[in-house]
Structures are given as structure tokens and as C-alpha cells.
């Protein structure tokens, strides 16, 4: 659990400095959420991190489905019960800004 403890999170559980993110952190946090990361998960995480760039702002779900080649159904299956925040947290990004 040390991978998770070394990271600074804000009160809502989002990473404050996305540069602190590591793949080990992503795997550990996903595991905590009951998700074992597969290639399909990584494709989404990598897309989100690329999209966020330097701003650290996570893309919205629709930006993910239209940009990462994943359907809404698949996205909700890969990150069940709240993909918007889960994807952002596991990708080490801030809360998604935008409604769609």
C-alpha cells in the first residue's frame, strides 16, 4: 500500500500533481477499487494522460468514448460504478471539467 501512501491527494481523492503518477500507483489504486487493469484499461488511462497534457485536467466520458476508440458500454464495464471519477483518479488527474 506504500505506493498509494506516497501520493498527495486533495480532499476529493484526486491527485494534485499528476507528475507524481506512476503505473504502480495506477495498478494499486485500481486494485483497491476492485479493478484489475488489462490492456483495455491501459489504453484508456494512456489516452486520458495524453489528453490532459500539462493541464492535468481529466477528459470527460464523452471525450474518452469519442477519442479512445471505446464504446460507452465498454467504458462502464471496464470502470464500473462511476467511470468519470474512477478513470481520472487512476490516471492521476484532476476532477473532469465539463458536463458531457
Amino acid at each position: 500500500m506504500t505506493v498509494l501512501e506516497n501520493i498527495t491527494l486533495n480532499e476529493e481523492g484526486f491527485m494534485t500533481n499528476s507528475a507524481e503518477w506512476t503505473e504502480e500507483f495506477a495498478s494499486a489504486l485500481a486494485e483497491k477499487e476492485g479493478i484489475t487493469l488489462t490492456d483495455a484499461h491501459w489504453a484508456i488511462i494512456n489516452f486520458c494522460r495524453e489528453q490532459a497534457g500539462d493541464s492535468g485536467a481529466a477528459p470527460t466520458l464523452r471525450q474518452i468514448t469519442s477519442g479512445a476508440g471505446v464504446t460507452t458500454k465498454e467504458l462502464f464495464q471496464l470502470f464500473p460504478k462511476g467511470p468519470a471519477k474512477k478513470v481520472a483518479k487512476i490516471s492521476g488527474l484532476g476532477k473532469p471539467e465539463g458536463c458531457v
Partner: protein, 168 residues
């Protein structure tokens, strides 16, 4: 760990205007993204949102809409509204509808039919109101596939026990 009951939000959509179609879709999508269960009940004119013939033809009328200002079109007219007398000119609703759709598209907001499909794929449950369906003689085949079934008001009460309810 004890099993906590998941948060559940239910929307009652009773309007068929284009601008009144979006609130439940936007909030419902946000709720699903946050892991909240979503139920949508379509009643009265709200059924236009989920019928094949109507969904892509929802409109907004500038007549008697006090919020519809000329400044929305980028004119420096401050708080001047569109005079109702102009609103009754044929084509004004079509123009206002086209204008709103253009604004929505620019923001990346999907059309109503696509939004409904997204919500359905994300796990929202959607129902038609039995009384309205009987009154307007709507058939099962008239509905978009996102509608699970037609239910009574009492069924809706049963399936939303403990849920937060938003009437639109």
C-alpha cells in the same frame, strides 16, 4: 463491510421542447458517471423524447419565452426579447431550433437521440407512462430501443423507493 444501498436519482420528463429535453440527459449522464443509479420516466409531452418520429424533431419556440433574447444571436440588443409578433412568423420556431442545435453542437453536446443511447448504454433505466401511452395511442414499435417498458405511475413509485426525484 456492510452493503450500502447505492444512491439513486429518478427524473420525470414531462416536456417535449428541445430545451426541456436536455436537463435530465445532462444530469443523468453526470450521475451515471459518478456511479449513481438513474431512472427516467417519460410522461405526457416528455414521451416525444423517446418516440422515433419525434425525437429528432424537438423544437424550441421563441413565442412567449421571456428568456429568449436577441442578444443570444450575438446582436448588441441587451435585454430586448424577440417580439411575440415576430415569433408567430412561419419558420421562427425552426430558426430558433436550428440556432439552439448549432450552439449545442459547438459545445460538443450530442443530439437527444444519441444522448439517450449513451444513457441507456451506461445503465440508465427508462420507462414510458402507461396513461399517456394509452391516451396518445403510442405503440411499442414507436419507441426508441432505450425505453425498457411502459409502466404505471404506481410501478414508478415502487421502483423509485428511496430515490431522489427530479420533475422536469
Amino acid at each position: 463491510m456492510t452493503e450500502e444501498k447505492n444512491r439513486h436519482i429518478a427524473f420525470i420528463c414531462s416536456k417535449g421542447d428541445l430545451d426541456m429535453a436536455y436537463p435530465a440527459l445532462i444530469m443523468g449522464w453526470a450521475a451515471l458517471g459518478d456511479g449513481i443509479d438513474v431512472t427516467i420516466f417519460f410522461t405526457f409531452w416528455g414521451l416525444d423524447m423517446v418516440t422515433k418520429k419525434r425525437v429528432d424533431r424537438l423544437e424550441i419556440a421563441p413565442v412567449a419565452n421571456t428568456s429568449f433574447k436577441m442578444s443570444m444571436m450575438g446582436l448588441p440588443t441587451g435585454n430586448w426579447g424577440i417580439p411575440n409578433i415576430l415569433g408567430i412568423i412561419p419558420g421562427m420556431s425552426a430558426f430558433a431550433t436550428w440556432f439552439m442545435k448549432m450552439k449545442m453542437k459547438a459545445l460538443g453536446v450530442p443530439p437527444v437521440s444519441e444522448y439517450l443511447e449513451m444513457l441507456s448504454d451506461a445503465g440508465a433505466n427508462m420507462y414510458g407512462c402507461k396513461m399517456t401511452v394509452d391516451m396518445f395511442d403510442i405503440k411499442d414499435e414507436d419507441f426508441l430501443p432505450c425505453v425498457d417498458k411502459v409502466v404505471t405511475a404506481s410501478d414508478f413509485m415502487d421502483m423509485t423507493e428511496g430515490a431522489q426525484i427530479v420533475f422536469i
